[in-house]
Symmetry: C2
Subunit: 189 residues, 2 copies
Amino acid sequence: MRVLGIDPGLTRCGWGVVDGRPGARPTAVGVGVVRTMPELDVELRLLELHTAVTALLREHRPDVVAIERVFTQNNRGTATGTAQAAGVAALAAAQADRPVAWHTPSEVKAAISGNGRADKEQVTLMVTRVLGLAAAPKPADAADALALAVCHAWRGPAQQRLRSAAIAGGLGAPVVQRTLPRWQGVAAR
Amino acid sequence: MRVLGIDPGLTRCGWGVVDGRPGARPTAVGVGVVRTMPELDVELRLLELHTAVTALLREHRPDVVAIERVFTQNNRGTATGTAQAAGVAALAAAQADRPVAWHTPSEVKAAISGNGRADKEQVTLMVTRVLGLAAAPKPADAADALALAVCHAWRGPAQQRLRSAAIAGGLGAPVVQRTLPRWQGVAAR
């Protein structure tokens, strides 16, 4: 399974591509950061990010896109931009017909280091070790994206089985086919 | 000036198109709501919303897209979805080469009713009156989107002049040309 991990952000959006499966040592395929300039209007930054993620999807053809699930309570200023960046990355995945999986930072930390409260340095160290990289990926956003991809390669299949079982047992939302957009518009005059 | 107002949301995204200028009575061109089903995965809901907003841009050819600036502090659950919806709407505007203007709910309320703390009923009442509509637009998201468009038609030009003056005076960000996406990718192995 090939996973594109995305640590969303407007100023720095980390990405990392990993080949892996549960219980096996994963392989790093690519890693990097998409940067957009804070001086640009937000919609143009989102356009740059969308273009970059679309290009990554085309280049690496991942089976699934794993995006960090960010809660918007911490930092008012950047949280909105982070959520917008995550939304645009998820849109690019949907447009490329790839499923999206969301993982919280603590899930990722627990998967990669065994400790849901690991700090950035520990995560980078473990990512470097697990993937057998010659040097630590920089900046931290790039390492986080790789950690996210590893987390999904290891845990995604089990999560998917649980989800399918829950749906089959009537505990979750039904599986809904992709539908055409529905919207209502009426002439106001 | 034609304004497409967008009250962002995943479950209900209000939209309203208004022709207007400062100091004149605006005209409503269209109003409606884009709905996506909560049972769908988020990325598919964002895809539906993006498709719908793109279609609205093509149909109504607004000069500017006004989107409600939502702060993500209030409601953890829906705030992320709202920010993602706003990001996808802003992306659609950028892809159609339309500028985006952001207005806070209190700005919109103040512009339409003279009271930044007006409630939903007051906003709907004033929108109906100002635009000379035969009936109140429903649901509230649709009325909010029209109010946003009216707010921008009335206040946008002055805001833009202030912004240009601030930039010319060196107080703000420089005017930056749209640039191609920049991202760095290195092979990890």
